[in-house]
Chain length 468, copies 2
């Protein structure tokens, strides 16, 4: 047993992925060959027993035109849950190719949250066509979810849950669970509702299992159970799961009636998604860029950000342009100016990164904003002084002019303090206007450090050396 890999599952899964967790190329090749040979039998053997997440990764690894063919060949053995696991672009391409009847057949057996996830980005007409082919109970649940705002609790919830009245005993509840074959595929707690389906509380399954049969549910239930409105944003939902270590969260309508439940596995995806959006936004990439996008889509998406940056770069250069005379008289200034700007830009990015994250996690708020601004200003001053000395000595030695060292040192202090203040005040201001600080802070902040960097360095130099 000592040569077990770090993580193991069935024997099949062990050969599906290499030690880094990436799909093995030979598995992909075998699947590709089976699709091209239209060999449904081999395909079922290779893919039929895989976890939906593995099927999703496999779909992404295949060429685009093979993906719908795999689904067609697998027929009813294809688990549509796999489509939840692929990139949006990939899913849309696949759904475009499949006939609506096949999609309706495929989503019929899914939990409603998965079905909504697959349907939500389809054009309205196609959506209606598919919904029409579903049993009316399923259709109503899906339509209710789809009417909720994008990225809301109502969109992420599943409509399948277990609810019992408070008067039932533990024994009665367990018997009900044993006899009922309409239960959700997985559940982690049962909900207690009154005659109008208003949520009274919840009972975790381990509590139910530990308790003797005669005990009444209302004695067991957690009546202060946290709940969320269907209209709440998914980011808010994710914060509640994180903060209170939840496994499931009941979703209620505006009259506190239970309409669904969000489970932690969906929230894990939301958390990953939200962090991903912040990372990309800070890097100047739109949140919906995906690895499977075409060159053209990606180039266009990134163009806008670069265009804004170009404008700010010209603005910074205009500041340099103000000092053309000085630059001509003393070319060392042209050589050194980018150092001041670059150091400021990097320091500002540090502060801004911390501020944007702390705002996203609600760690930074009105109550401590003043303290954090002061602290950042001090950090800027401390590092400004440190780098004033280092840069000053280096510049003075390079150009054999002590005065040049003093000038660049002074400019460095100015710019690192400006960087610190810009790095924290800009995200705070952007957040105050209810915009996403991750998306729009960067441009302002680097403009500040470029302009202040160039202006302070060349301005001080101009005065110090009497170049004007």
């Amino acid at each position: 047993m000592s040569d077990l890999p770090e993580t193991t599952a069935e024997a099949g899964a062990a050969v599906l992925r290499d030690e880094d967790g990436a799909l093995r190329a030979d598995v992909v090749t075998r699947v590709r060959d089976a699709i091209e040979a239209a060999d449904a039998g081999t395909l079922r053997t290779l893919v039929g027993d895989l976890h939906e997440a593995d099927v999703g990764d496999l779909l992404e690894a295949l060429d685009a035109e093979l993906r719908p063919r795999l689904i067609a060949l697998m027929g009813p053995d294809f688990d549509f849950t796999a489509l939840v696991e692929v990139d949006d672009t990939v899913r849309e391409e696949i759904l475009d190719e499949l006939p609506p009847a096949a999609v309706a057949e495929g989503v019929r057996d899914l939990d409603s949250d998965d079905a909504v996830y697959i349907l939500e980005d389809l054009p309205r007409k196609e959506q209606a066509e598919i919904l029409d082919q579903l049993p009316s109970l399923d259709r109503v649940a899906l339509e209710r979810s789809l009417q909720c705002p994008d990225d809301s609790a109502g969109r992420r919830m599943q409509s399948e849950y277990v609810a019992v009245p408070p008067s039932w005993s533990v024994g009665h509840t367990i018997d009900y669970l044993r006899d009922n074959d309409e239960l959700p595929e997985r559940f982690f707690e049962i909900y207690v509702v009154d005659g109008d389906y208003r949520l009274l509380g919840a009972v975790a399954l381990d509590v139910l299992l530990r308790t003797r049969r005669p005990t009444r549910i209302e004695e067991l239930m957690d009546a202060g159970r946290r709940r969320v409105r269907a209209t709440a944003d998914q980011e808010e939902v994710a914060r509640l799961f994180e903060r209170y270590n939840l496994i499931a969260l009941p979703v209620v309508d505006d009259r506190d009636r239970l309409v669904g439940v969000i489970t932690v596995d969906d929230v894990v995806d939301v958390i990953e998604e939200e962090a991903e959006k912040d990372i990309k936004a800070l890097g100047g990439v739109t949140g919906d860029e995906e690895l499977s996008d075409s060159v053209w889509t990606i180039a266009r998406g990134r163009f806008n950000w670069l265009l804004v940056n170009l404008a700010t770069a010209f603005l910074a250069s205009a500041v340099l342009g103000l000092f053309e005379g000085e630059l001509q008289k003393m070319v060392a200034l042209a050589v050194l100016a980018p150092i001041v700007a670059s150091q400021g830009g990097n320091a500002a990015t540090q502060t801004m990164t911390v501020a944007v994250r702390a705002l996203a996690t609600r760690e930074l708020h009105d109550g401590n904003a003043m303290r954090i601004v002061m602290r950042e200003a001090l950090v800027g001053l401390v590092n400004g002084l440190a780098f004033a000395v280092i840069t000053g000595v280096a510049a003075a030695a390079w150009f054999r002019t002590a005065d040049l060292g003093i000038v660049i040192g002074l400019a460095m202090v100015c710019n690192l303090v400006a960087a610190a203040l810009g790095g924290i005040l800009v995200p705070l201001a952007v957040d105050r206007f209810r915009l996403d600080p991750a998306v729009s802070s960067g441009v302002f902040v680097t403009t500040i450090t470029d302009v202040v960097g160039f202006f302070s360095f060349l301005g001080i130099a101009s005065l110090w050396f009497g170049l004007h």
Copy 2:
């Protein structure tokens, strides 16, 4: 009921936080006043029934010297789980102030994963002192966890779990759960082990509840249950939870014997932590910087990154220095050069951000690396051509020199292609050396774009205008 807030819990929690989810200032003030008046009764009323996460946030909102006093005043009513919820720096300060006996008393009742989390960063001597005061069974479990590597599955697991032999019936298992009062506080599945405690499978609680009493556990259990070695990295664990939508994951030793279980609520924190680390690393901030750190700690932490950047800024300036003659003859070059470098830096950051994230989530791997490199190069070329035209026209108009437009346009194409290649190849190379691409890619990449930007612009200008 229509004026319910979006999320509600007990009445108390509704007034604890404002609509953004931040702690309300007046609550913090009342707690502060109670501590300063040493009024344990009021403090218990205010804090006693709060969720541990709320107590954690409250601790962070208090001045540092009040925190240990709150814990002392609350006495046995203080739930040490709250210490898991605070920043590392805050926790260390608090633990420094508390006598080891009080800490031992406090961690005794915790799940082992929480106890380990509190103890792991303490100095060895203090750790031993606290462990010595615990019952031997608890001590052994904690010591085993603490011996596992930092950030491993063994560190994050809890040693409390429910395990039964395969021969038991459902009825026997439920009776066992009802009669046993040594069960973990919460559990989501039970594990099936042989006589040597080797893991045979798992049964989800909902499966147990749906099944009639005579059925044997071995008929129910999922024998292919995914498991993880105690030495596996927590990031790997998080990927498994995400990919396979797990709620709990059994942890085994090198002989496949069950030693603990990791639950999804801990993994949610790991995912958040890992995303946070990537975001901070990309922004040039060390992963362990926290909002509660002192000016000095933060300034020192950020200094190193800025120092490396300063070196690369000097390198880029040295390239400018090579062209001193040209800059003097044509000062417009000094004014425009930063535009080429800045645009390259931003384009490279876009590519690098996408690459670093895709590497972290294993979406980018050997199998598709070549395709992604080609795609990024094309994106660089497309945007390079677009910005060559825009920048060229703008520069030509500004300095009324058409040739300057052509020169900056050519340099722009060169630098955006270099940016694209650098942005993707550097993270891939860093990853190949098993280093974290988020931490070290940035410096290399912006050095490339600065150097290529300055060199191509001034080199082409020098040739074009015959300035050399």
